[in-house]
Symmetry: C2
Subunit: 207 residues, 2 copies
């Protein structure tokens, strides 16, 4: 039999590390954190498992970073930070619109995955709480901005932020349910929650 010559591709360490994390993040988002194994990432990258271990002596560390990368990348599309485009109200509307979409399902599953698995993995627990803090700050910044522009009526921005996120995460906890059990009251619950805690008239955010 022909033995595969296996042409060796040598890359810049930083670049290779990045490549590994990208693959790991992709697998985490699509299939779950427990699927992110040294061998699976190696396979996706057409590389030997030993190489992954070389860049990540601890597999747990790789998984934690993969989660952080995936979660943060998704956050960037849900609640963009820097080039603030649109009014706070428009940005919130966008956020809740996407939260209801099917694209969001994979992210909900990832968060559920991470929040549970973090129970046994200290480094993942750190990553989860860090991403939670970033998300919280990102949302609260928009709310404060809207309040300063007198778009919202919101005496307690942090409380409002947390209450909205509780609803978002609550809905997300059903991400793995297959039952087509559904109810109109859940369709735009997070948007209606936001309208309520921000003193907006019904329909301003839901649509």
């Amino acid at each position: 039999m022909s033995r595969a010559p296996t042409p060796r591709i040598r890359k810049n360490p930083a670049e290779r590390r990045d490549e590994i994390l990208d693959a790991a993040a992709r697998i985490a988002l699509a299939e779950g954190l427990e699927i992110v194994t040294v061998r699976r990432v190696a396979e996706d990258l057409q590389v030997r498992p030993g190489l992954i271990s070389h860049y990540f002596p601890s597999a747990e560390e790789m998984v934690s970073e993969a989660f952080a990368r995936a979660a943060h990348a998704e956050l960037e599309t849900l609640l963009p930070a820097e080039p603030t485009t649109g009014t706070p109200l428009e940005r919130l509307r966008d956020f809740f619109l996407r939260s209801a979409g099917d694209d969001y399902l994979a992210l909900s599953r990832l968060w559920l995955n991470a929040r549970h698995t973090s129970r046994f993995r200290p480094s993942l627990q750190d990553a989860v709480q860090q991403q939670e803090a970033i998300t919280r700050d990102r949302l609260m910044a928009i709310i404060i901005e809207g309040r300063d522009q007198d778009l919202f009526s919101c005496p307690d921005p942090l409380g409002a932020t947390l209450e909205i996120l509780v609803v978002v995460d609550g809905l997300g906890s059903y991400a793995n349910d297959t039952s087509d059990y559904w109810h109109a009251s859940l369709a735009d619950l997070s948007a209606r929650t936001a309208e309520r805690v921000l003193g907006l008239s019904p329909g301003t955010l839901a649509g």
Copy 2:
């Protein structure tokens, strides 16, 4: 060395099966579903692993039943069914009081665990959705009873039930967070949500 004679205890099959499930449920609640292994359950029961496999040819089935048992037993103390003691309002108050307590933490972790793990385990997915339905029905029954007694103002009992559970599950999704990050708005959020959707005056359920 002295070889342990291992006195063999032979039990009624039904009884043994029950004993196994009890141990499995206990481990699931205290340490997590992934800790419920054939060998671990056997160790707790002072029995050889092969015996567990004899009663549960599929380990996944054992884990699913263990979850169902644990979740249902806890539900029985949170939202007791039959000997309806107390008014609907008192029973709700009890429920929210316990939900905020530390005893509830283990149960929140178990639900988080099951909701994630069900992604890969069909039989667990069934068990989760079944326990969700039972919980939902149990809560909705109280709400309907209260509405019929004109204690609540609630045009859509199912919608109210779901909205309350979303908040309960949302708070539960932080069960593995260690950060002492907390905020007054989260302390009795589920009780306040119930007050709102049931048309109760603030403070009726929270306390």
